[in-house]
Point group: C2
Chain length 258, copies 2
Amino acid sequence: MTIRDIHLRVPDSCRPKGARDHEKSPLTESIEEYVEGIWRLEQVIPTVGTGEIAQYMGVAPPSVTTMLKRMAELGLVEHIPYQGVRCTEKGEALALELLRKHRLIERLLVDFLELPWDGVHDLACKLEHYISSDVADRIAAAMGNPQTCPHGNPVDATRDDLSVQLSALEPGDRAWVAKITDEREEFLSYLYQIGLIPGAQIEAVGRTPFGDVLTLKVEGREEPVAIGREVMTSLWVHTGRFDRAPEGVVQATADPRT
Amino acid sequence: MTIRDIHLRVPDSCRPKGARDHEKSPLTESIEEYVEGIWRLEQVIPTVGTGEIAQYMGVAPPSVTTMLKRMAELGLVEHIPYQGVRCTEKGEALALELLRKHRLIERLLVDFLELPWDGVHDLACKLEHYISSDVADRIAAAMGNPQTCPHGNPVDATRDDLSVQLSALEPGDRAWVAKITDEREEFLSYLYQIGLIPGAQIEAVGRTPFGDVLTLKVEGREEPVAIGREVMTSLWVHTGRFDRAPEGVVQATADPRT
DNA sequence: CAGCGATTTTAGCCTAACCTAAAAACTGTT
DNA sequence: AACAGTTTTTAGGTTAGGCTAAAATCGCTG
């Protein structure tokens, strides 16, 4: 009789991916990567479409379409076919937590393990999918709660980063005003006059060669307005190609100066 | 015109698994897990078959058969259909390096990050597939070159561990004598008389209820011999169901006492 | 307002892993 | 030597996530 009863068994978490009764979380490593990628793109370009994601992720556009469908089902992104994508609150939270893990891991790799400053990003891209938030907390504690990754990016990429500076818009792009960081009274007063208040829908029309003047159409106003650097850098917008203002955007109904 | 030329791109290593021109190493995470599992089984039971692997890995037997075929093509294991499996030198090296990474990671998690002693194994099972040998070296250095993992297993599971103590054999198992750790002259002399020299093929026949006496048939001898604890614990064997002695096993042709 | 180029989606296919059900091969017993 | 039981393999099917080629849609321009 040959030996049968082995009391050895690999822990469940180490079993092969597609195994039988495997506790299958719908959030695969791939989906996490997509969410993080889409979120990052939103920070840099005002309009995130299938093509941009495909280019960024290094895959073919049809692969992105398929993934977007699944991610939309999971409630991670809002996707309007042929129009564009935007992370939902849930997707954003996932992306932010992933970024936190990523940046803390980089701290550990560079400061404690003394791995090369310019070589840790790729490894962190892998590891970020496997550590829990608790482990990330432990890393933070062990490294003295660092505020940034070794490359200077903030560990806590808070919700604010969802909006982009107005200067990121290109002619043709549409967006909703999110927040204004310059709170001088006369400045706010001027913005209110031209209708640039939180929740206002705008569309970039034209731009001067040096980019120092941007022409905007503002919802409900006939005449476009020309704005300069000062406004462009103090006014942050939510972007997307949607026909309605995204959830979570303040619909300004009263004087913003209150 | 909408924005096209993004100069952002995810690093190649972060791209989705099956992507286009992805540098595809044939050694998938799954295959690494299988090799490690098979190697571990070899340490504990003398005969590793499809069923044992399936049970250990938590998958169905046909899945194992398929994987064994691929692993055999990669030169990681020798597989004789219906007979059994054994790691090759290459497979063994892979398993040993994987174990080293695993145990060093556990040290980092427990000693530096202060994660719970009984909870780090599963996480280490994941991470071991993603760190390079260089990173493992850096962990070893940062942790002061530990000799064992927190659970006492050696970081360097050297080649010696390939063999098992004779006492691991069950009636019906066959094996080849690998090495003898008790080198007293009279002991070796006795073993030589009964034919238990490196390379000798043996078969376990019977065992007393308390396991303190094992009856063996030795290749080329008619009469079985009864051996006790002293021999069982000093004599290490290579196991498997093969019809020939595995490569790397010394074929003793002369008096081993020289 | 029709047509044309660019972008996105659909349709159909591939690979790595897994699975179940059925066939094949070994092994021990009469 | 045949047969019955166990183990292993083969056969055929599923899912995740890629791919290419073709169809659909969008947006711009004559």
